[in-house]
Symmetry: C2
Subunit: 236 residues, 2 copies
DNA sequence: CATCCGCCGATTCTACAGAATCGCTTGTGA
DNA sequence: TCACAAGCGATTCTGTAGAATCGGCGGATG
């Protein structure tokens, strides 16, 4: 077992818990930690070259995020990430993103939206060439749009909740990606770009209802896609 | 400072963190810990007659719930609880409760709903007599209805999120109650009971749209009431 | 005004106590 | 004699305490 980055040597005091949380999140997201796996504090302590105190604290934080469950005197286990969980989280996310986009309607600078629309259309048009870079671009644009909406909603708490859900959703996506390979992903990419364009256009015309509908479709189609990818790969 | 219940003597090993979390939540809810107050682990450790380790862990959990903020190397501060925060949390809660009630529509046993309706109407009719017992009854019925809906939504994750929000909302309610006194509360009580009845009746006829609208009104009226109570009492 | 020093408290480590689990042993019945 | 179950002991891991270390802030000092 190799020592990884948030070690006592590299990470300054006061940020270690956070660093470990991030690292463990990534581990779960990328399938290095599988559902149902028991997390032993001592092992993790060795792995990260810290004592088990900050590890424990990181586990408590992760339990708060909802990635693991803690049983008193029995330690931590990684939560199941199946199609059911994807659907459930997406359902919640849908409700909140729709609320956010309704609130944000008419409160985002048109210039910013226009710029986003241009880039999205460019991405949607360019089919198939240079996979990885496109994936990165797509994710960046996705983040930008959703962040823009969350900011413009004017509701700090909503923004914070959406962030948490985005994190969880990314977990699912990365797990599915892992299993699934990238082969059928590019089609989804352009599909997603189109969905984003519809949302942006609704925002540009300040049509809250249309924006909400578009967002709902967007999340639902993501849900269907990724949950299918998960069931297919885990052979339930 | 007196030693309080989750002490090493009374609370079994493995449940202390949880007990401390609950106790601190209650402290914040009931105004014994005020917004902006700095929480010193050593002091809390003495107060609860445990070492600072479980205290720290409880603070991390509380930060996850969103009641306090942790700054690296600078400790924990109780978050502001003003009208703005009430509105924000309620907005999120509204979105989720409406989603839940839509999902739950047609999936709750009519017998249970009928029983609830009867009790609600009894409560709504009985104006003014015997305050405290009525408040307790009202809260119990409120909990029962919302739990029923969350259960029937069939979405475990949604249920969990709603629970968290209910907790936060209770925080606000109790703070406002503290400041405000109980004088104008009984009117709100019957109002709330009527709102609940409307929701139950929509559920009985399996009218998802009506149920969602009723729920939206219910949460919004709660939001207006409590945020007003907060602004009035804290003189912002 | 800039710098340094010392204190307070947050963070982390080490050590130990209690809980859970696993496997062994021993006793019992066929 | 063999199969099986119950009890016991050892091991492993979690939870808590107390000590050591480090960072930040405020006051003293030049």
């Amino acid at each position: 077992m190799t020592v990884v980055s948030p070690s006592s040597a590299t990470t300054p005091r006061g940020l270690r818990r956070e660093a470990i949380v991030e690292s463990l999140l990534a581990d779960v997201f990328q399938g290095r930690l599988k559902a149902g796996q028991h997390l032993v504090t001592q092992d993790l302590a060795e792995r990260y070259a810290v004592s088990h105190t900050p590890i424990r604290e990181a586990l408590i934080a992760l339990a708060g995020i909802g990635i693991i469950t803690l049983a008193p005197n029995r330690g931590a286990v990684v939560k199941q990430v199946g199609a059911k969980e994807v659907r459930e989280v997406c359902q919640v996310r849908k409700a909140l993103e729709c609320e956010a986009v309704r609130l944000a309607c008419g409160r985002i600078s048109p210039a910013e939206l226009q710029a986003l629309a241009v880039e999205l259309k460019k991405l949607a048009g360019r089919t198939g060439a240079n996979g990885l870079r496109q994936v990165a671009k797509a994710r960046e644009l996705d983040s930008r749009l959703h962040d823009l909406i969350a900011d413009a909603s004017g509701n700090q708490f909503l923004k914070q909740e959406l962030n948490r859900l985005k994190l969880l959703f990314r977990a699912f996506r990365d797990v599915a990606w892992e299993h699934d390979g990238a082969h059928n992903d590019f089609h989804r990419l352009t599909e997603e770009a189109y969905e984003h364009v519809v949302i942006v256009e609704a925002l540009l015309t300040s049509d809250a209802k249309a924006a909400s509908r578009a967002m709902s479709r967007h999340i639902r189609s993501g849900m269907v896609y990724w949950s299918r990818a998960l069931t297919a790969s885990t052979k339930l």
